[in-house]
Amino acid sequence: MGALGKPIILMVAMYVFLKFILPNIPGSAPLPSSLIFLYLLLTAAGIVIFETLSGESKDAFWGPMERFLTGENLGGLQALRYGVLVLFPLLVGWQTYGSTASSDAPPAESRTIHPAPPGEYTGLSNPVPKTPENIMQGKGFYAAFCSPCHGGNFDGKGPAARGYNPPPANFADPTTIAMLQESYLFWRIKKGGVGLPIEGAPWKSAMPRWELELPDEWIWKIIMGEYDGAHQSPRTWE
C-alpha cells in the first residue's frame, strides 16, 4: 500500500495546508473553495503524472489500486473495500444533491473591479499642471468629498465605508490605482458607480456620480491629490 499511501497523504496534507494553515498566516484570509479545488486538482494531476512515468511506477501505483478494487488477495482489508465500493456512489449522489438541490447560500458573485472604460475616457491626460499647489488643493477636495469612504489614509477604510459592499477601493494597494491611468480614474470619479458597465455590477456601487456636483478641473486635481497621498503613481506610456 506504500505507493498508494503516499499520494493519499500528500493530498490530505495539501488540503489541510490550504484550508487551515494558509488562512492563518498573518495577513492572509480563508481561500475560496474554487481556488482550493484548483490547487488540489493540480496536485492530483501531478501525482498521476509522476506515478505513471514508467511501467514500474505505474504498476506500483495502479497495482494496489486494482487489487483493492477487484478484491484479490485482500485479506483483512475486504471490509474496507466494500466500504469504499458503497461510499463512492453515495458520495457521487451527495455531490449531485448538493449541486441540484436549492441551496441556502446566495448565488456566487463575480464583480470585475476594473472593467473597461468607455472609449472616450481612454486617451485623456490631466490638463491641470502638476504643481504643489494643485496637489494640495486636490488633497483638500479629497478630504472633503472622498475621505468619508476611501479614508483619510487612502486605505478604503473611511468612517462611512463599513456598510458598503463592494467596499470602497483601497488606493494604497498597488493593484488598484497604480495599475490605472489617470484617465481611468477621471472616468470612475466623473460617472461614479452608476456609470459602470454590467460586469462592474453598477447597482451595488455607492460611488457618487461626481460630474453632477464637481467641475472637471476639481476632479483632475483630486486625482493628483489621490496619487500623491497614496504614494502611488499613475500608469503611463512614458
Binding site: I25, A108, S110, A116, P118, T122, P174, T175, M179, P197
Partner: protein, 618 residues
C-alpha cells in the same frame, strides 16, 4: 432597431449566460447547419428604406453559423499552412542530412495537402458566401477599403495552387541531384506564397480590431494604409508560429492514433518516431508562442486601452484563466511525453532521471498554480466577505501580470530542460571539458532562473511601463539566451559522447499515444478560444470604434455557452482532419497489401533521438 431592443431585453439578466437562443443547443448539431442552409434569406431583416444591413437565418442564427464556419476555415487554414512548413523542414533535413525517413515523413504529410487544401478552400468559399449574405453592410465597407488586396489574394491563390501541384506530383520525379534542389525550392515557394495567403486576410481581420484612419487617395494607397495597422504584424507572427505548433501536434496526434492501432513492429517503430518528431516540432514552436502572444497583447493595449482592459481585466478576463489551464495542460502533456520517452525508449534510465523529473514536475506545477490563480476570485458572497473583497490578501498578488510573465518564462525554461534531458539521456560524455561544460550550463540555468524570478518580484515595485518595456523584455531575453547557449553546448558535448544505451522505438505505452492526442486537442481548443477572444474583444463593433454592430447579435455570449460552440468546432475539425488523413492514406493500404511494404524502415536509430533534431536547428 426595435428588434435589437427586444433582444437586449431578452438577454438583460446578463450575469446569467445569454438566454433566448434556441439555436444554442441546436447549433451543436451539424445536421442543423445543412438543413438550414437553403433557408438563408428567409429572415432578411431590412427596412423598406435603405439597403439591407443584416440577414439572419432561423434556429442557428447568422452569427453562430458564421462563427462556426469561420473558425473551421481558420483551423483548416492553420493546418494547411502549418503542414507545408513542417513537411518542408523535414524534406530539407532529409536532403541535407541524408536521412531518408525524413523525406518519407515529409511526403506522407504533403500527400494530405491536396485534399486539405481543397477542404480549406471549400470552407473559405462557404464563409465568403455567408458573410456576403449575412453582413452586406460590413462586407461592402471592407470591400471599399480592401478591394486591391482581394485581387492580390486571388492571384496568390492561383500561384499557391500551381506550386502545390508541382510540389506534390513532382515529388518522386524530382528526387535526385539538381532536381531535388529544384523541388526543395518549390517547397520554399509553396511556403512563401502560403505566408502571403495568410497575411493578406490577416490584414482584413486585424483592421477590424485596430483600424487606422483612411484619408483620401487611390484605392491602392487606402488599402495599403489599412493593411499596415498596429496589430497586423503581431498577428502574422503569432499565427505563423501557432500554425507550426498546430502542424506539429496534429502530426503527433496522427502518429499517436496510428501507433495505438498498428500491429507490426516496424509500423510501431515508425509511428512512435513520427509522434516524437511531431511533438518535438510542436514544443519548439510552443516555446516561442507566449512571447509572440505577449507582443500582440502589448500592441493591443497600446492601440486602445479599452480593448486591452476588456481582454485582461474586463469581461474576458476569465477567458485567460481558461487559456492558462489549457496551456498548462499542453505544457504538462508535452513534458509528460518527453519523460515517458526517457523511461520507455531508453531502458534503465528511469532510476537516473526520476528525481530530476520529479523536480521539474513540481516546479512546473508550482508555476501553473501561480499562472492559474486569478486576480479576482470566484467566491460566494460569504467567502468574499471573509477575504474582504474578491481579492485574496495574500494570493491576490499572484494574479497580476508580473507574476504571470515570470512563471510563463520559467515554464518555457523547464520544458526546454526537459528536452535537453531527453536529448542527453542514454549517452555518456567523453570530452575532456565535459565537466566544465556541464558546470557552465548548470550555472547559466540557475542564474537565469534566479534573474527571471528577481525581475518578476521587482516588477511589483516599478511603474507598469518600466516593467513592460524593460523587465518583461529582459526576462524574455534571458530565456532566449539560455536556449541559445545551452543548445549548441549540448550539441557539442554530444558530438563526442558515447551512446551507452540504444534508443528503443515502438515500446511506448498506449498512454503516450493518448498524450499526443490530448496535446493536439489542446492546441485546437486554444485556437478556437482565441478566435472567440479576438471577436469578443471588439465588443459591439464590426470595425472597432468606426462601424458599430447594430445587428441583434451585437452582444458577446458568455464563456460557458460559447465553450460548447468551441468544443463543437474542435470536434468537427478533428473529424475533418481524420477524414483527410483517411482519404489520403486509403491508397497506401492497397499498396502495402500488394507487396511493397515498408521495407526501408530504419532499424538502428541511435543518433536520431537527440542528434537529428539538434542538427535541424542549426
Amino acid at each position: 432597431m426595435s428588434a435589437k431592443r427586444q433582444e437586449i431585453k431578452t438577454i438583460q439578466p446578463a450575469l446569467q449566460p445569454v438566454k433566448g437562443h434556441g439555436g444554442w443547443v441546436a447549433s451543436l448539431l451539424l445536421a442543423a447547419v445543412w438543413l438550414v442552409l437553403p433557408s438563408i434569406g428567409i429572415a432578411a431583416e431590412g427596412t423598406a428604406t435603405g439597403p439591407t444591413e443584416y440577414r439572419d437565418i432561423p434556429y442557428i442564427g447568422s452569427r453562430n453559423l458564421v462563427w462556426i464556419v469561420a473558425q473551421l476555415h481558420l483551423l483548416l487554414a492553420g493546418f494547411v499552412l502549418g503542414v507545408p512548413i513542417f513537411a518542408w523542414l523535414c524534406e530539407v533535413i532529409a536532403w541535407r542530412g541524408g536521412e531518408k525517413r525524413y523525406d518519407k515523413l515529409a511526403k506522407e504529410f504533403t500527400k494530405l495537402l491536396t485534399s486539405a487544401y481543397a477542404t480549406t478552400a471549400l470552407f473559405g468559399g462557404i464563409l465568403l458566401f455567408l458573410l456576403v449574405a449575412f453582413y452586406p453592410k460590413l462586407m461592402n465597407y471592407l470591400t471599399d477599403v480592401f478591394f486591391p488586396s482581394f485581387l492580390l489574394y486571388c492571384m496568390l491563390f492561383l500561384l499557391e495552387t500551381a506550386t502545390l501541384y508541382l510540389y506534390w506530383y513532382g515529388w518522386d520525379a524530382m528526387q535526385d541531384g539538381r532536381k531535388k534542389t529544384l523541388h526543395v525550392f518549390l517547397g520554399f515557394l509553396l511556403n512563401f506564397f502560403a505566408l502571403f495567403i495568410m497575411i493578406v486576410p490577416n490584414a482584413w481581420a486585424t483592421f477590424q480590431s485596430s483600424p487606422v484612419v483612411l484619408s483620401e487617395g487611390t484605392a491602392l494607397e487606402r488599402a495599403w494604409a489599412a493593411t499596415w495597422n498596429p496589430t497586423w504584424w503581431p498577428i502574422n507572427i503569432h499565427r505563423l508560429i501557432a500554425n507550426v505548433v498546430l502542424g506539429g501536434y496534429i502530426c503527433g496526434a496522427y502518429a499517436g492514433v496510428r501507433y495505438l492501432s498498428v500491429k507490426s513492429k516496424e509500423d510501431r517503430e515508425h509511428y512512435d518516431w513520427m509522434g516524437y518528431v511531431g511533438n518535438f516540432i510542436g514544443v519548439f514552436g510552443l516555446l516561442a508562442l507566449p512571447f509572440a502572444g505577449y507582443w500582440l497583447m502589448r500592441e493591443i493595449y497600446q492601440y486602445n486601452q479599452q480593448m486591452g482592459i476588456t481582454l485582461m481585466g474586463g469581461f474576458l478576463s476569465w477567458l485567460f484563466i481558461i487559456q492558462a489551464m489549457l496551456i498548462g495542460v499542453l505544457f504538462l502533456g508535452s513534458n509528460y511525453y518527453f519523460w515517458l520517452g526517457i523511461t520507455y525508449r531508453i531502458p534503465g534510465s528511469e532510476a537516473k532521471y526520476r528525481r530530476a523529473m520529479l523536480m521539474m514536475l513540481v516546479s512546473l506545477l508550482l508555476c501553473l498554480a501561480v499562472w492559474m490563480t486569478p486576480h479576482s476570485l470566484v467566491a460566494s458572497i460569504e467567502e468574499a466577505q471573509k477575504m474582504g473583497g474578491a481579492h485574496h490578501p495574500l494570493l491576490g498578488v499572484l494574479g497580476v501580470m508580473s507574476a504571470k510573465m515570470t512563471v510563463s518564462n520559467l515554464m518555457i525554461l523547464i520544458t526546454f530542460m526537459s528536452f535537453v534531458m531527453y536529448w542527453r539521456a542514454g549517452k555518456q560524455d567523453t570530452a575532456g571539458w565535459a565537466k566544465f561544460g556541464k558546470a557552465v550550463m548548470g550555472a547559466v540555468l540557475v542564474v537565469a532562473s534566479l534573474a527571471v524570478i528577481v525581475l518578476g518580484v521587482w516588477g511589483y515595485f516599478v511603474p507598469a511601463i518600466v516593467r513592460i518595456n524593460y523587465f518583461s523584455t529582459s526576462q524574455v531575453a534571458i530565456v532566449g539566451f539560455v536556449i541559445l547557449t545551452i543548445t549548441p553546448l549540448t550539441a557539442l558535448l554530444l558530438k563526442s559522447a558515447k551512446t551507452t544505451t540504444e534508443m528503443v522505438w515502438g515500446s511506448m505505452p498506449p498512454r503516450a499515444g493518448y498524450a499526443l492526442v490530448l496535446n493536439a486537442v489542446m492546441v485546437i481548443l486554444l485556437m478556437t478560444l482565441m478566435g472567440y477572444a479576438r471577436s469578443s474583444s471588439r465588443v459591439h463593433w464590426h470595425v472597432y470604434g468606426v462601424m458599430r454592430d447594430t445587428s441583434p447579435y451585437a452582444y458577446s455570449p458568455a464563456l460557458g455557452s460559447a465553450s460548447l460552440i468551441m468544443a463543437f468546432c474542435t470536434f468537427f475539425f478533428c473529424i475533418l482532419v481524420a477524414f483527410i488523413f483517411w482519404v489520403a492514406t486509403m491508397g497506401d493500404k492497397y499498396k502495402t497489401t500488394s507487396g511493397t511494404g515498408k521495407g526501408d524502415l530504419p532499424q538502428g536509430i541511435p543518433a536520431m533521438a537527440g542528434g537529428a533534431p539538434g542538427k535541424q536547428r542549426q
